[in-house]
Protein backbone atom coordinates (compact mmCIF):
# COMPACT_ATOMS: atom_id res chain seq x y z
CA UNK A 1 0.00 0.00 0.00
CA UNK A 2 1.40 3.44 -0.91
CA UNK A 3 2.62 5.66 1.93
CA UNK A 4 1.34 8.82 0.29
CA UNK A 5 -1.88 8.88 -1.69
CA UNK A 6 -3.19 12.02 -3.32
CA UNK A 7 -6.50 12.02 -5.16
CA UNK A 8 -7.96 14.89 -7.18
CA UNK A 9 -6.26 17.44 -4.95
CA UNK A 10 -7.09 21.06 -5.79
CA UNK A 11 -6.33 24.38 -4.17
CA UNK A 12 -7.82 27.68 -5.19
CA UNK A 13 -6.49 30.86 -3.57
CA UNK A 14 -8.51 34.03 -3.42
CA UNK A 15 -6.13 36.91 -3.89
CA UNK A 16 -6.98 40.60 -3.50
CA UNK A 17 -6.46 42.55 -6.68
CA UNK A 18 -6.27 46.20 -7.52
CA UNK A 19 -4.98 48.42 -10.28
CA UNK A 20 -1.99 50.67 -9.51
CA UNK A 21 -2.44 54.29 -8.50
CA UNK A 22 -4.08 56.37 -5.81
CA UNK A 23 -7.61 56.28 -7.24
CA UNK A 24 -7.58 52.49 -7.34
CA UNK A 25 -6.25 52.40 -3.78
CA UNK A 26 -9.16 54.55 -2.62
CA UNK A 27 -11.68 52.42 -4.51
CA UNK A 28 -10.10 49.39 -2.83
CA UNK A 29 -10.93 50.87 0.57
CA UNK A 30 -14.61 50.83 -0.25
CA UNK A 31 -14.82 47.59 -2.14
CA UNK A 32 -12.11 45.02 -2.54
CA UNK A 33 -12.01 42.93 -5.66
CA UNK A 34 -10.68 39.42 -5.61
CA UNK A 35 -9.45 36.99 -8.17
CA UNK A 36 -9.47 33.22 -7.81
CA UNK A 37 -6.15 31.57 -8.58
CA UNK A 38 -6.09 27.84 -9.15
CA UNK A 39 -2.73 26.94 -7.60
CA UNK A 40 -3.25 23.18 -7.83
CA UNK A 41 -5.75 21.49 -10.12
CA UNK A 42 -6.98 17.96 -9.73
CA UNK A 43 -3.62 16.36 -8.93
CA UNK A 44 -3.49 12.61 -8.35
CA UNK A 45 -0.46 10.47 -7.51
CA UNK A 46 0.86 7.92 -5.04
CA UNK A 47 4.27 7.43 -3.48
CA UNK A 48 5.56 4.14 -2.05
CA UNK A 49 7.52 3.87 1.16
CA UNK A 50 11.21 4.71 0.69
CA UNK A 51 10.78 6.37 -2.71
CA UNK A 52 12.45 9.66 -3.67
CA UNK A 53 10.22 11.65 -5.97
CA UNK A 54 11.29 14.84 -7.72
CA UNK A 55 8.60 17.45 -7.92
CA UNK A 56 9.44 19.77 -10.81
CA UNK A 57 7.80 22.67 -12.55
CA UNK A 58 8.40 26.38 -13.17
CA UNK A 59 7.96 29.05 -10.51
CA UNK A 60 4.33 29.30 -9.48
CA UNK A 61 3.48 25.85 -10.87
CA UNK A 62 1.95 24.70 -7.58
CA UNK A 63 4.82 22.58 -6.19
CA UNK A 64 5.16 24.33 -2.84
CA UNK A 65 1.38 24.58 -2.47
CA UNK A 66 1.12 20.81 -2.89
CA UNK A 67 3.91 20.22 -0.36
CA UNK A 68 2.21 22.59 2.08
CA UNK A 69 -1.02 20.61 1.77
CA UNK A 70 0.84 17.35 2.35
CA UNK A 71 2.60 18.75 5.41
CA UNK A 72 -0.68 20.02 6.84
CA UNK A 73 0.01 23.74 6.50
CA UNK A 74 -2.68 24.25 3.88
CA UNK A 75 -6.22 23.02 3.62
CA UNK A 76 -7.17 21.96 0.07
CA UNK A 77 -10.20 23.35 -1.75
CA UNK A 78 -11.15 19.83 -2.77
CA UNK A 79 -9.71 16.36 -3.06
CA UNK A 80 -8.18 13.87 -0.68
CA UNK A 81 -4.76 12.96 0.63
CA UNK A 82 -3.50 10.35 3.01
CA UNK A 83 0.06 10.24 4.34
CA UNK A 84 1.09 7.43 6.71
CA UNK A 85 -2.63 6.83 7.21
CA UNK A 86 -3.31 10.40 8.35
CA UNK A 87 -5.15 13.26 6.70
CA UNK A 88 -2.33 15.84 6.72
CA UNK A 89 -4.38 19.01 7.26
CA UNK A 90 -5.93 17.63 10.44
CA UNK A 91 -2.44 18.33 11.82
CA UNK A 92 -2.54 15.60 14.46
CA UNK A 93 0.58 15.65 16.68
CA UNK A 94 1.09 11.93 15.95
CA UNK A 95 1.34 12.81 12.23
CA UNK A 96 3.54 15.86 12.73
CA UNK A 97 5.98 13.73 14.74
CA UNK A 98 6.49 11.42 11.76
CA UNK A 99 7.06 13.98 9.03
CA UNK A 100 9.48 16.80 8.43
CA UNK A 101 9.68 19.68 6.02
CA UNK A 102 12.91 21.42 5.17
CA UNK A 103 12.48 24.75 3.42
CA UNK A 104 15.55 26.08 1.60
CA UNK A 105 14.58 29.67 2.36
CA UNK A 106 13.35 29.31 5.95
CA UNK A 107 15.28 28.40 9.05
CA UNK A 108 14.16 26.60 12.14
CA UNK A 109 17.44 27.14 13.98
CA UNK A 110 18.03 29.68 16.73
CA UNK A 111 20.22 32.35 15.20
CA UNK A 112 22.39 33.36 18.15
CA UNK A 113 23.21 30.02 19.73
CA UNK A 114 25.08 26.94 18.43
CA UNK A 115 23.07 24.44 16.35
CA UNK A 116 23.61 21.79 19.00
CA UNK A 117 21.29 23.73 21.33
CA UNK A 118 18.62 23.96 18.62
CA UNK A 119 18.89 20.21 17.97
CA UNK A 120 18.34 19.51 21.69
CA UNK A 121 15.23 21.70 21.76
CA UNK A 122 13.81 19.94 18.71
CA UNK A 123 14.56 16.54 20.23
CA UNK A 124 12.62 17.58 23.36
CA UNK A 125 9.72 18.99 21.33
CA UNK A 126 9.47 15.77 19.32
CA UNK A 127 9.94 13.64 22.44
CA UNK A 128 13.03 11.83 21.15
CA UNK A 129 14.57 9.61 23.88
CA UNK A 130 18.15 10.71 24.82
CA UNK A 131 19.85 7.56 23.47
CA UNK A 132 18.02 7.73 20.15
CA UNK A 133 18.87 11.44 19.91
CA UNK A 134 22.58 10.84 20.43
CA UNK A 135 22.64 7.96 17.98
CA UNK A 136 20.81 9.91 15.23
CA UNK A 137 22.88 13.01 15.79
CA UNK A 138 26.18 11.11 15.66
CA UNK A 139 25.17 9.36 12.47
CA UNK A 140 23.96 12.49 10.65
CA UNK A 141 26.94 14.56 11.82
CA UNK A 142 29.34 11.86 10.65
CA UNK A 143 27.81 11.63 7.17
CA UNK A 144 27.82 15.42 6.78
CA UNK A 145 31.29 15.81 8.37
CA UNK A 146 30.04 18.77 10.37
CA UNK A 147 31.40 18.12 13.87
CA UNK A 148 33.23 21.51 14.06
CA UNK A 149 30.03 23.42 13.23
CA UNK A 150 28.07 22.14 16.19
CA UNK A 151 29.36 24.64 18.73
CA UNK A 152 29.47 27.81 16.59
CA UNK A 153 26.57 30.29 16.74
CA UNK A 154 24.35 29.74 13.70
CA UNK A 155 24.72 33.35 12.53
CA UNK A 156 28.45 32.79 11.96
CA UNK A 157 27.90 29.81 9.62
CA UNK A 158 27.98 30.01 5.83
CA UNK A 159 24.82 29.30 3.81
CA UNK A 160 26.00 25.78 3.00
CA UNK A 161 26.95 25.03 6.60
CA UNK A 162 23.59 26.32 7.75
CA UNK A 163 21.79 24.08 5.27
CA UNK A 164 23.63 21.08 6.69
CA UNK A 165 22.33 22.09 10.11
CA UNK A 166 18.80 22.55 8.75
CA UNK A 167 18.86 19.02 7.37
CA UNK A 168 20.03 17.59 10.70
CA UNK A 169 17.32 19.64 12.45
CA UNK A 170 14.73 18.21 10.06
CA UNK A 171 15.87 14.63 10.57
CA UNK A 172 16.64 14.58 14.30
CA UNK A 173 13.28 12.97 15.10
CA UNK A 174 13.73 10.27 12.43
CA UNK A 175 10.72 11.18 10.28
CA UNK A 176 9.24 8.57 7.94
CA UNK A 177 8.44 11.21 5.32
CA UNK A 178 10.60 14.19 4.43
CA UNK A 179 9.41 17.09 2.29
CA UNK A 180 12.25 19.13 0.83
CA UNK A 181 11.46 22.47 -0.76
CA UNK A 182 14.49 23.64 -2.72
CA UNK A 183 17.07 22.38 -0.21
CA UNK A 184 20.03 23.38 -2.40
CA UNK A 185 18.85 26.92 -3.12
CA UNK A 186 21.79 29.28 -3.45
CA UNK A 187 24.47 26.71 -2.65
CA UNK A 188 27.69 26.25 -4.63
CA UNK A 189 28.11 23.23 -6.90
CA UNK A 190 30.25 21.20 -4.51
CA UNK A 191 27.96 21.82 -1.52
CA UNK A 192 24.96 20.85 -3.67
CA UNK A 193 26.72 17.59 -4.46
CA UNK A 194 27.45 16.85 -0.81
CA UNK A 195 23.89 17.47 0.26
CA UNK A 196 22.62 15.24 -2.54
CA UNK A 197 24.91 12.44 -1.43
CA UNK A 198 23.73 12.96 2.13
CA UNK A 199 20.05 12.72 1.16
CA UNK A 200 20.70 9.60 -0.90
CA UNK A 201 22.53 8.05 2.04
CA UNK A 202 19.74 8.90 4.51
CA UNK A 203 17.22 7.43 2.11
CA UNK A 204 19.30 4.24 1.74
CA UNK A 205 20.04 3.76 5.45
CA UNK A 206 16.77 4.86 7.00
CA UNK A 207 14.30 4.30 4.19
CA UNK A 208 12.93 7.84 4.51
CA UNK A 209 10.38 8.66 1.81
CA UNK A 210 11.25 11.97 0.19
CA UNK A 211 9.46 14.42 -2.04
CA UNK A 212 11.85 17.05 -3.33
CA UNK A 213 11.28 20.22 -5.27
CA UNK A 214 14.21 21.85 -6.97
CA UNK A 215 15.04 24.11 -9.86
CA UNK A 216 18.43 22.45 -10.21
CA UNK A 217 18.01 19.55 -12.61
CA UNK A 218 21.24 18.09 -11.24
CA UNK A 219 19.42 17.51 -7.92
CA UNK A 220 16.64 15.70 -9.69
CA UNK A 221 18.94 13.68 -11.97
CA UNK A 222 21.11 12.58 -9.03
CA UNK A 223 18.37 11.78 -6.54
CA UNK A 224 15.05 11.06 -8.18
CA UNK A 225 14.42 7.93 -10.23
CA UNK A 226 10.88 9.25 -10.61
CA UNK A 227 9.66 12.75 -11.34
CA UNK A 228 6.30 14.46 -11.22
CA UNK A 229 6.04 17.45 -13.52
CA UNK A 230 3.47 20.03 -12.60
CA UNK A 231 2.61 23.12 -14.63
CA UNK A 232 -0.11 25.72 -14.05
CA UNK A 233 -1.21 23.56 -11.12
CA UNK A 234 -1.89 20.47 -13.22
CA UNK A 235 0.07 17.23 -13.36
CA UNK A 236 1.74 16.87 -16.77
CA UNK A 237 3.92 13.85 -16.25
CA UNK A 238 4.54 11.17 -13.65
CA UNK A 239 7.17 8.57 -14.37
CA UNK A 240 10.89 7.90 -14.72
CA UNK A 241 13.11 10.86 -15.49
CA UNK A 242 14.44 9.21 -18.64
CA UNK A 243 10.92 8.89 -20.01
CA UNK A 244 10.30 12.59 -19.57
CA UNK A 245 12.41 13.62 -22.55
CA UNK A 246 10.84 10.93 -24.68
CA UNK A 247 7.36 11.90 -23.66
CA UNK A 248 7.67 15.65 -23.68
CA UNK A 249 10.31 16.45 -26.25
CA UNK A 250 9.07 15.13 -29.59
CA UNK A 251 12.37 15.89 -31.28
CA UNK A 252 15.97 14.71 -31.59
CA UNK A 253 19.19 16.58 -32.01
CA UNK A 254 21.51 15.61 -34.87
CA UNK A 255 25.12 16.72 -34.54
CA UNK A 256 26.85 16.52 -37.88
CA UNK A 257 30.45 17.37 -38.86
CA UNK A 258 31.25 17.89 -42.52
CA UNK A 259 34.59 17.32 -44.27
CA UNK A 260 36.51 19.54 -46.69
CA UNK A 261 34.50 21.39 -49.24
CA UNK A 262 31.35 21.44 -47.09
CA UNK A 263 28.58 23.72 -48.22
CA UNK A 264 26.39 25.53 -45.77
CA UNK A 265 23.83 26.24 -48.47
CA UNK A 266 23.33 22.49 -48.99
CA UNK A 267 22.65 22.05 -45.26
CA UNK A 268 20.26 24.99 -45.34
CA UNK A 269 18.40 23.50 -48.28
CA UNK A 270 17.39 20.60 -46.05
CA UNK A 271 15.73 22.85 -43.49
CA UNK A 272 11.96 23.16 -43.11
CA UNK A 273 9.57 24.09 -40.26
CA UNK A 274 10.21 20.61 -38.80
CA UNK A 275 13.96 20.74 -39.35
CA UNK A 276 15.79 23.59 -37.65
CA UNK A 277 19.44 24.53 -37.63
CA UNK A 278 19.99 25.57 -34.03
CA UNK A 279 23.79 25.90 -33.95
CA UNK A 280 26.67 26.17 -36.36
CA UNK A 281 30.35 26.21 -35.47
CA UNK A 282 32.51 26.14 -38.58
CA UNK A 283 31.82 22.79 -40.24
CA UNK A 284 29.84 21.45 -37.29
CA UNK A 285 26.07 21.73 -37.31
CA UNK A 286 23.37 20.93 -34.73
CA UNK A 287 19.96 20.29 -36.26
CA UNK A 288 16.69 19.81 -34.42
CA UNK A 289 14.25 17.44 -36.07
CA UNK A 290 11.00 15.75 -35.06
CA UNK A 291 11.43 12.21 -33.73
CA UNK A 292 9.63 10.77 -36.75
CA UNK A 293 11.71 12.77 -39.20
CA UNK A 294 15.08 11.83 -37.67
CA UNK A 295 15.80 8.60 -39.63
CA UNK A 296 14.88 10.20 -42.99
CA UNK A 297 16.96 13.29 -42.37
CA UNK A 298 19.92 11.21 -41.22
CA UNK A 299 19.79 9.24 -44.45
CA UNK A 300 19.58 12.39 -46.56
CA UNK A 301 22.49 14.00 -44.72
CA UNK A 302 24.63 10.94 -45.28
CA UNK A 303 23.67 10.71 -48.96
CA UNK A 304 24.04 14.35 -49.95
CA UNK A 305 26.85 15.75 -47.81
CA UNK A 306 30.50 14.87 -47.07
CA UNK A 307 29.74 13.69 -43.53
CA UNK A 308 32.75 13.02 -41.30
CA UNK A 309 30.86 12.41 -38.10
CA UNK A 310 27.17 12.18 -37.16
CA UNK A 311 25.39 11.62 -33.87
CA UNK A 312 21.67 11.47 -33.06
CA UNK A 313 20.76 12.37 -29.47
CA UNK A 314 17.86 13.10 -27.17
CA UNK A 315 17.94 16.75 -26.14
CA UNK A 316 19.47 17.50 -22.72
CA UNK A 317 16.96 17.35 -19.88
CA UNK A 318 17.35 21.07 -19.15
CA UNK A 319 16.33 21.91 -22.71
CA UNK A 320 13.25 19.69 -22.47
CA UNK A 321 12.23 21.24 -19.17
CA UNK A 322 12.84 24.72 -20.51
CA UNK A 323 10.66 24.03 -23.52
CA UNK A 324 7.85 22.67 -21.34
CA UNK A 325 8.09 25.63 -18.96
CA UNK A 326 7.94 28.09 -21.84
CA UNK A 327 5.36 26.41 -23.99
CA UNK A 328 3.46 24.31 -21.47
CA UNK A 329 3.25 21.36 -23.84
CA UNK A 330 0.09 19.95 -22.44
CA UNK A 331 -1.26 18.89 -25.79
CA UNK A 332 1.75 16.79 -26.73
CA UNK A 333 2.25 15.18 -23.38
CA UNK A 334 -0.92 14.35 -21.52
CA UNK A 335 -0.78 13.01 -18.00
CA UNK A 336 0.63 9.60 -17.45
CA UNK A 337 -0.34 8.73 -13.94
CA UNK A 338 -0.29 5.02 -13.53
Amino acid sequence: MPQITVRNLSKTHRVPERAPGLAAALRGLARRSYRDVEAVRDVTFAVESGEIVGFIGPNGAGKTTTLKMLSGLLHPSSGEASVLGYVPWERRPAYLRRISMVLGNKSQLYWDIPPLDSFRVLAEIYGVPPEAYRETLDELVAILEMEPLLTKPVRTLSLGERMKCELVAGLIHCPAVLYLDEPTLGLDVSMQGRLRRFLAEVNRRRGVTMILTSHYMADVVALCPRVILIHHGALLYDGPLAGLAHKLAPFKLIHVSLGNGHRTDLVRSLLSPDVELIEQDGAQFTIRVSRDGAPGLTARLLNTLPVVDLAVEDPPIEAVIDQVYQEGQVANAGPQAE
Binding site: H13, K68, S71, L73, H75, L96, K106
Partner: protein, 263 residues
Protein backbone atom coordinates in the same frame (compact mmCIF):
# COMPACT_ATOMS: atom_id res chain seq x y z
CA UNK B 1 6.15 15.79 26.54
CA UNK B 2 4.71 19.28 26.25
CA UNK B 3 6.38 20.25 29.51
CA UNK B 4 9.78 18.92 28.41
CA UNK B 5 9.47 20.62 25.03
CA UNK B 6 8.32 23.85 26.66
CA UNK B 7 11.21 23.85 29.15
CA UNK B 8 13.70 23.18 26.37
CA UNK B 9 12.21 26.07 24.37
CA UNK B 10 12.53 28.39 27.37
CA UNK B 11 16.15 27.41 27.87
CA UNK B 12 17.08 27.90 24.22
CA UNK B 13 15.30 31.25 24.03
CA UNK B 14 16.99 32.38 27.23
CA UNK B 15 20.43 31.26 25.99
CA UNK B 16 19.78 33.00 22.71
CA UNK B 17 18.71 36.25 24.40
CA UNK B 18 21.57 36.27 26.88
CA UNK B 19 23.82 36.53 23.80
CA UNK B 20 22.28 39.92 23.08
CA UNK B 21 21.42 40.90 26.66
CA UNK B 22 22.61 44.50 26.36
CA UNK B 23 19.84 45.06 23.79
CA UNK B 24 17.25 43.72 26.22
CA UNK B 25 18.74 45.73 29.09
CA UNK B 26 18.32 48.86 26.95
CA UNK B 27 14.70 47.91 26.23
CA UNK B 28 14.06 47.34 29.92
CA UNK B 29 15.67 50.70 30.69
CA UNK B 30 13.36 52.36 28.16
CA UNK B 31 10.29 50.81 29.81
CA UNK B 32 11.40 52.16 33.19
CA UNK B 33 11.50 55.75 32.04
CA UNK B 34 7.75 56.71 31.97
CA UNK B 35 7.02 55.36 35.49
CA UNK B 36 10.20 57.09 36.72
CA UNK B 37 9.03 60.40 35.26
CA UNK B 38 5.67 60.07 37.01
CA UNK B 39 7.43 59.01 40.20
CA UNK B 40 9.26 62.33 40.21
CA UNK B 41 6.20 64.34 39.11
CA UNK B 42 3.94 62.99 41.87
CA UNK B 43 6.53 62.93 44.64
CA UNK B 44 7.39 66.55 43.82
CA UNK B 45 3.67 67.44 43.81
CA UNK B 46 3.22 65.81 47.21
CA UNK B 47 6.23 67.66 48.64
CA UNK B 48 6.06 67.38 52.40
CA UNK B 49 2.25 67.03 52.39
CA UNK B 50 -0.08 64.56 50.65
CA UNK B 51 -1.95 64.27 47.35
CA UNK B 52 -5.15 62.22 47.52
CA UNK B 53 -3.94 60.80 50.82
CA UNK B 54 -0.56 59.68 49.41
CA UNK B 55 2.75 61.01 50.77
CA UNK B 56 5.97 61.57 48.82
CA UNK B 57 7.36 58.29 50.20
CA UNK B 58 4.09 56.57 49.33
CA UNK B 59 4.37 57.68 45.68
CA UNK B 60 7.99 56.49 45.56
CA UNK B 61 6.95 53.07 46.88
CA UNK B 62 3.98 52.90 44.49
CA UNK B 63 6.04 53.69 41.39
CA UNK B 64 9.00 51.49 42.32
CA UNK B 65 6.63 48.54 42.72
CA UNK B 66 4.97 49.59 39.46
CA UNK B 67 8.32 49.52 37.62
CA UNK B 68 8.85 45.88 38.65
CA UNK B 69 5.24 44.84 38.04
CA UNK B 70 5.25 46.53 34.63
CA UNK B 71 8.34 44.52 33.65
CA UNK B 72 6.87 41.33 35.03
CA UNK B 73 3.64 41.70 33.07
CA UNK B 74 4.85 43.38 29.87
CA UNK B 75 4.54 40.92 26.97
CA UNK B 76 7.17 42.02 24.51
CA UNK B 77 6.66 38.70 22.68
CA UNK B 78 3.39 39.94 21.27
CA UNK B 79 5.18 42.51 19.14
CA UNK B 80 6.89 39.75 17.16
CA UNK B 81 3.84 37.54 16.59
CA UNK B 82 2.63 39.67 13.66
CA UNK B 83 5.99 39.36 11.90
CA UNK B 84 6.09 35.62 12.54
CA UNK B 85 2.73 35.32 10.77
CA UNK B 86 3.52 37.79 7.96
CA UNK B 87 6.94 36.46 7.02
CA UNK B 88 6.08 32.77 7.10
CA UNK B 89 7.77 31.90 10.41
CA UNK B 90 4.44 30.47 11.51
CA UNK B 91 5.00 27.63 9.01
CA UNK B 92 7.94 26.23 10.98
CA UNK B 93 5.98 26.53 14.23
CA UNK B 94 2.85 24.86 12.81
CA UNK B 95 4.93 21.94 11.54
CA UNK B 96 5.92 21.05 15.11
CA UNK B 97 3.82 18.74 17.25
CA UNK B 98 3.57 21.52 19.86
CA UNK B 99 1.19 24.48 19.75
CA UNK B 100 2.91 27.73 18.63
CA UNK B 101 1.58 29.41 21.78
CA UNK B 102 4.32 27.51 23.65
CA UNK B 103 6.87 29.37 21.58
CA UNK B 104 5.39 32.69 22.72
CA UNK B 105 5.14 31.48 26.31
CA UNK B 106 8.77 30.38 26.32
CA UNK B 107 9.84 33.81 25.06
CA UNK B 108 7.78 35.32 27.85
CA UNK B 109 9.42 33.31 30.61
CA UNK B 110 12.91 33.62 29.14
CA UNK B 111 12.37 37.36 28.64
CA UNK B 112 11.31 37.92 32.24
CA UNK B 113 14.49 36.29 33.50
CA UNK B 114 16.65 38.47 31.25
CA UNK B 115 14.81 41.73 32.09
CA UNK B 116 14.67 41.12 35.81
CA UNK B 117 18.43 40.63 36.03
CA UNK B 118 18.52 44.30 35.04
CA UNK B 119 15.42 45.79 36.62
CA UNK B 120 15.61 44.31 40.13
CA UNK B 121 19.12 45.63 40.98
CA UNK B 122 18.34 49.02 39.41
CA UNK B 123 15.10 49.32 41.39
CA UNK B 124 16.91 48.27 44.57
CA UNK B 125 19.48 51.05 44.08
CA UNK B 126 16.65 53.55 43.42
CA UNK B 127 14.95 52.39 46.63
CA UNK B 128 18.11 53.05 48.63
CA UNK B 129 18.38 56.56 47.14
CA UNK B 130 14.69 57.59 47.15
CA UNK B 131 13.62 56.03 50.49
CA UNK B 132 10.13 54.67 49.78
CA UNK B 133 7.59 54.00 52.51
CA UNK B 134 5.84 50.65 52.16
CA UNK B 135 3.54 49.33 54.89
CA UNK B 136 3.81 45.69 53.99
CA UNK B 137 1.34 43.29 55.58
CA UNK B 138 1.31 39.52 55.23
CA UNK B 139 -2.17 39.64 53.68
CA UNK B 140 -1.07 42.11 51.00
CA UNK B 141 2.15 40.25 50.30
CA UNK B 142 0.28 36.96 49.90
CA UNK B 143 -2.40 38.54 47.69
CA UNK B 144 0.26 40.23 45.55
CA UNK B 145 1.57 36.91 44.15
CA UNK B 146 -1.66 35.72 42.48
CA UNK B 147 -2.49 39.32 41.51
CA UNK B 148 0.78 39.61 39.55
CA UNK B 149 0.37 36.15 38.01
CA UNK B 150 -3.17 36.93 36.88
CA UNK B 151 -2.11 40.37 35.67
CA UNK B 152 0.61 38.82 33.51
CA UNK B 153 -1.75 36.14 32.13
CA UNK B 154 -4.36 38.78 31.30
CA UNK B 155 -1.90 41.20 29.68
CA UNK B 156 -0.21 38.41 27.71
CA UNK B 157 -3.40 36.75 26.44
CA UNK B 158 -5.06 40.07 25.61
CA UNK B 159 -2.01 41.23 23.63
CA UNK B 160 -1.47 37.80 22.03
CA UNK B 161 -5.09 37.75 20.83
CA UNK B 162 -4.69 41.24 19.35
CA UNK B 163 -1.41 40.20 17.71
CA UNK B 164 -3.10 37.14 16.19
CA UNK B 165 -5.37 39.47 14.24
CA UNK B 166 -2.35 39.61 11.90
CA UNK B 167 -3.91 36.47 10.39
CA UNK B 168 -6.43 38.86 8.82
CA UNK B 169 -4.93 42.35 8.85
CA UNK B 170 -1.33 43.06 7.93
CA UNK B 171 -0.78 45.79 10.52
CA UNK B 172 -2.40 44.38 13.64
CA UNK B 173 0.57 45.75 15.63
CA UNK B 174 -1.21 49.10 15.71
CA UNK B 175 -3.71 47.56 18.14
CA UNK B 176 -0.83 46.67 20.48
CA UNK B 177 0.24 50.31 20.46
CA UNK B 178 -3.35 51.24 21.35
CA UNK B 179 -3.30 48.69 24.18
CA UNK B 180 -0.06 50.21 25.51
CA UNK B 181 -1.57 53.70 25.35
CA UNK B 182 -4.68 52.60 27.27
CA UNK B 183 -2.51 50.83 29.85
CA UNK B 184 -0.45 53.97 30.23
CA UNK B 185 -3.60 56.00 30.83
CA UNK B 186 -5.86 53.64 32.74
CA UNK B 187 -3.61 51.08 34.45
CA UNK B 188 -2.15 53.35 37.07
CA UNK B 189 0.91 54.65 35.25
CA UNK B 190 0.03 58.29 34.63
CA UNK B 191 -1.47 58.37 38.09
CA UNK B 192 -2.58 55.79 40.65
CA UNK B 193 -6.21 54.83 39.90
CA UNK B 194 -7.42 56.43 43.15
CA UNK B 195 -6.25 59.82 41.87
CA UNK B 196 -8.01 59.63 38.47
CA UNK B 197 -10.94 62.01 37.98
CA UNK B 198 -14.59 60.74 37.87
CA UNK B 199 -15.30 59.17 34.49
CA UNK B 200 -11.72 58.07 33.91
CA UNK B 201 -11.68 56.42 37.31
CA UNK B 202 -14.87 54.49 36.58
CA UNK B 203 -13.47 53.46 33.19
CA UNK B 204 -10.24 52.34 34.86
CA UNK B 205 -12.12 50.24 37.39
CA UNK B 206 -14.35 48.54 34.80
CA UNK B 207 -11.98 48.05 31.84
CA UNK B 208 -9.31 45.30 31.88
CA UNK B 209 -6.22 47.54 31.81
CA UNK B 210 -5.95 48.29 35.55
CA UNK B 211 -5.92 44.54 36.19
CA UNK B 212 -2.83 44.16 33.99
CA UNK B 213 -0.56 46.50 36.01
CA UNK B 214 -2.16 48.85 38.55
CA UNK B 215 -4.13 46.35 40.62
CA UNK B 216 -1.18 44.27 41.91
CA UNK B 217 0.71 47.50 42.67
CA UNK B 218 -2.24 48.79 44.71
CA UNK B 219 -2.42 45.41 46.48
CA UNK B 220 1.21 45.49 47.59
CA UNK B 221 1.28 49.18 48.48
CA UNK B 222 -1.73 48.65 50.76
CA UNK B 223 -4.22 50.91 48.99
CA UNK B 224 -7.04 48.36 49.01
CA UNK B 225 -9.28 47.14 51.82
CA UNK B 226 -10.77 43.68 51.97
CA UNK B 227 -13.68 44.58 49.66
CA UNK B 228 -11.43 46.38 47.16
CA UNK B 229 -9.23 43.31 47.06
CA UNK B 230 -12.14 40.91 46.46
CA UNK B 231 -13.73 43.09 43.78
CA UNK B 232 -10.33 43.52 42.09
CA UNK B 233 -9.71 39.78 41.95
CA UNK B 234 -13.25 39.21 40.63
CA UNK B 235 -12.62 41.68 37.78
CA UNK B 236 -9.22 40.15 37.11
CA UNK B 237 -10.57 36.60 36.85
CA UNK B 238 -13.56 37.79 34.81
CA UNK B 239 -11.43 39.64 32.26
CA UNK B 240 -8.97 36.75 32.13
CA UNK B 241 -11.83 34.40 31.26
CA UNK B 242 -12.92 36.77 28.49
CA UNK B 243 -9.34 36.99 27.19
CA UNK B 244 -8.96 33.20 27.27
CA UNK B 245 -12.16 32.65 25.29
CA UNK B 246 -11.18 35.40 22.83
CA UNK B 247 -7.75 33.81 22.41
CA UNK B 248 -9.18 30.35 21.72
CA UNK B 249 -11.72 31.68 19.21
CA UNK B 250 -9.21 33.92 17.40
CA UNK B 251 -6.52 31.22 17.39
CA UNK B 252 -8.78 28.56 15.86
CA UNK B 253 -10.29 30.89 13.30
CA UNK B 254 -6.84 32.31 12.52
CA UNK B 255 -5.21 28.96 11.87
CA UNK B 256 -8.22 27.94 9.78
CA UNK B 257 -7.78 31.09 7.71
CA UNK B 258 -4.01 30.68 7.52
CA UNK B 259 -4.41 27.16 6.18
CA UNK B 260 -7.02 28.38 3.72
CA UNK B 261 -4.98 31.19 2.20
CA UNK B 262 -1.43 30.04 2.91
CA UNK B 263 1.44 31.75 4.66
Amino acid sequence: MKLRGGLALIKATWLSWMQVRSFFFLLAFGWMIPPLIYLFVWSTAAGSGTVGGMTREGFVAYYLVLIVVNQLTYSQTNWTVGDVIRYGGMNSLLLRPLSPVFDALSSEVAGKVVYLTFVVPVTAVLAVILRPELHLTLRNALAFVPAVALAWALRFLWGYSLALLAFWATQADALLALQDALIFLLAGQVAPTVLLPGVLRTAALVLPFRYMVGFPVEVLSGQLDRVGLAVGFAYQVGWLTVALVAFLVIWRAGVRRYSAVGG
